[in-house]
Symmetry: C2
Subunit: 540 residues, 2 copies
Amino acid sequence: MAKRQTLFKEISPSEFFYRNRDLAGFSNPSRALYSATRELVENALDACEAAQILPDIFVRITSADFDGALTDPKPYILKVQDNGPGIEPKYVPDAFARIFYGSKFQLKQSRGMFGMGATMAILYGQVTTNRPVLVTTSVDGEKAYTFELMVNIHDNTPLVLNKSVKPAFGKTGVSVQLTLEGDYGRAGSKIQEYFKQTALVTPYANILFIDPNGKLFYYERVTEKMPKPAKETLPHPLGIDLEALRRLLKESKESTLKKFLSKNFHRVGDRIAEDFLRYAGLDPNKKPQDLTNDEITRLGAALHSYDKFLPPDSRCLSPLGEELLATGIEKELQPEFVAVVQRPPSAYSGFPFIVEVGLAYGGKNVEAGLKLLRFANRIPLLYDEANDVSWKVVNEEIDWKRYKIPQDAPLTIITHVCSTKVPYKTVGKEYLADRPELERELKNGLREVLRRLSTYLSRKSTLAFVKKKMNIYEKYLPLIARFSAELSGAPRPPNYRKLLKKSIEEPFVENSEKAIEGERVDYGEEVVKFEQRRLEEYCR
Amino acid sequence: MAKRQTLFKEISPSEFFYRNRDLAGFSNPSRALYSATRELVENALDACEAAQILPDIFVRITSADFDGALTDPKPYILKVQDNGPGIEPKYVPDAFARIFYGSKFQLKQSRGMFGMGATMAILYGQVTTNRPVLVTTSVDGEKAYTFELMVNIHDNTPLVLNKSVKPAFGKTGVSVQLTLEGDYGRAGSKIQEYFKQTALVTPYANILFIDPNGKLFYYERVTEKMPKPAKETLPHPLGIDLEALRRLLKESKESTLKKFLSKNFHRVGDRIAEDFLRYAGLDPNKKPQDLTNDEITRLGAALHSYDKFLPPDSRCLSPLGEELLATGIEKELQPEFVAVVQRPPSAYSGFPFIVEVGLAYGGKNVEAGLKLLRFANRIPLLYDEANDVSWKVVNEEIDWKRYKIPQDAPLTIITHVCSTKVPYKTVGKEYLADRPELERELKNGLREVLRRLSTYLSRKSTLAFVKKKMNIYEKYLPLIARFSAELSGAPRPPNYRKLLKKSIEEPFVENSEKAIEGERVDYGEEVVKFEQRRLEEYCR
């Protein structure tokens, strides 16, 4: 029997992602240019928002080949600069040139989720162009530190090639400049779409983008209102696994299990802790550090099956809010009709989330046909649409006939999911898993905005209908008025013009309210009846 | 201006994948049970094949809750055992309980690609049930070592809880037994489908699977022929990046650039190396270790743009081969008609690949309608079909009308891609990226098997047609024969039976060959003409 012994070896995290860069969205020059831009812009926006600074983001992509002799794919220089709080210089080498070192490893809503976007962009730039990244940071507005960095991929450690200090002239923030192989010819339209959609969900940001052809895209701030910053939160008992539970118990400073539960879990107070421990059959006064392995397993199972925990609190989330979302949609799409809905907070396996749904109909920038714009924690998601839970809901779970919207209506649907943990299915953050709780909230939100559109379209068609009616009334009403005046012996015919005007305005108020609550109302008949009644009353 | 400093921290690879287990296919109890089974089975098959041992794989899933009181999701015990060469005991703790430590980090075709499947399964089991994994291994058939392991997630190190030795009774191989939260109620049908499809591409393996309900699934070996094992290969110049190039140069023991190129690259000999260095404008006698950063960049760019490198050699690949694939299809699907095609080797960004396409039509186990079975390096891919390059080719790039196959025909298409690097888009290995080279080969392979099916269906309908014709000939030929014998004064009529028999057999040989090469041939008319000619010749 032929035998061969297997060879084993260990690789570093950098090495793993260097070998498998497809996994993080860096699969080819076009996609990589898109991903690098997006990761740096998202870090910039996260930094500003966490510090509650109105973001001013500057992005420039230039060809690294200055005489323009090369064709795509070719090296590009990508620069992204923000006005955020800056990063302490001592953290810079690790934060930018080390995989699995970052600021996103907390239970908190942020655009970044895996803490490796910037490092992946730098790593990709390095392996395709052999050039270092330049990172400039200032936290005090006095001194700006510039680092020239590369990643030692084999060991996953940063290499500082150079470091210098200059005056910052009062400006704080971070600027990152890297060289990478890209393909703007292919990626250009996606990158432009990315900025357009980002502007839609961050109407409080100034974003300036200069593309390699020197074309300038400027998305101007239209509101100074920012969403409340997200807060870090304690884990919810429903979402805790045994590993996390063991760690909490081990590191616990509390003297009793009861105190341990109420200190370490989201929305667990003394009373719930007591009731729960009775349910779990564990002694409330036991020391958390003394639990045996079997007791930990039992505690974990009980945490998952006890059904009286309060649902997660959404205060740790930072949704856009209906006002900001509507502002963004109106600014970018200038539609004829807008509807936005924020659903109440919900949760999946212990992670709170909020769904916001917007709808834009008609107008200047809304194209014919149905278009879906997906967002998660304020990131536009542009790839792999057909795998996304929002796509599933829009295309498979809505009974479109109910809303009587014409098939090729100019309609754009916007979905925004924010959560302390967005259920992405790839490191490249392309699409969201179809968790049933998420599906339910998206469906409810979508139904609500569709109902509103349906009502609006109804009103619009009623208006046309009433106008047509009025044309007929206008023709005959003077005759009837004169005739009735003559019959009753009145000195002159009544003022029928007032009646005509009132007949157009009033029915809408009554019926549109009714429609928003439930089914679509067929205005046609009601309006006719109403008109008849009015006429009868008047002529009596 | 409110400011908050960002907090940075580092996490271990285990910690990263523990937090983001969705990324590796462990998103919920149903999916996790499927992924864990699959990862362990694939390691078992890889081990046997690398050692050229005919695989005997035993898999058992049992409920860990022996009194059956719990409902899904609940803890299950998963056991996978192989008859491979075994793993040296000293490697066991790291190989099973450490992320980024493994045997798959080579440029070589294998089912495993990311080297983390088993560790992810163990990690998932640990965080959901708090139980250690049991790994038993024997490399000599004398001693079998059993390890009781857990993962120290925080540090990414193995924890050996226990270790024991027993006699192995002549058997080598590895057995893994872990406890994990699963949902067999939901995952069952996928797991069964997984085994069925695995049997289809490994007809040389015995696979025995016992499910939690005690149901036994046995896939028996039908051939002792195994595919040739895959070999490790040197990198192809087209696929090399600057990081890999820099490392090769640094570690090079060669004294000249020319020797460096011919020793370190796939299919680069002295002559090509010389010609290439002239093209790149680099001195062939320069020491590889002396290249400057700029020269490395230039060398890298030239390696990508030089167009006279030979294409990658497929000897490092281990496709199934047409014979084995057909055996597998016949065994599992028992179709009326089978066609298999192995395309010539091709490459994408320097990675060689081979596409094999099979088709099964009609018969016992092929359902009505079009079904697609996707495989990559002999792994069945069951999830996210609509994202896969094969799905795209089948549904969007084939002009089905050309092949005149009825819409609801019982038709199953099998695609198999094998490569030293399969372009998966997720760590969970669900689907392949649509690289253009891959798309082209799949399309060509698919066209070929469809042409063959088309020819077969044609022949089938011609057969029906000819039979009908023959019925008519049979009626009139005796009369004509007798009449012509009388006219010519022959003593007795010619033997028309021989003519009738020949007329049925011959046209098929001629026409079916013609059809395989190109378009479908309409036999009807040709057969009629042929018959007429024969008749005329005979009667002359």
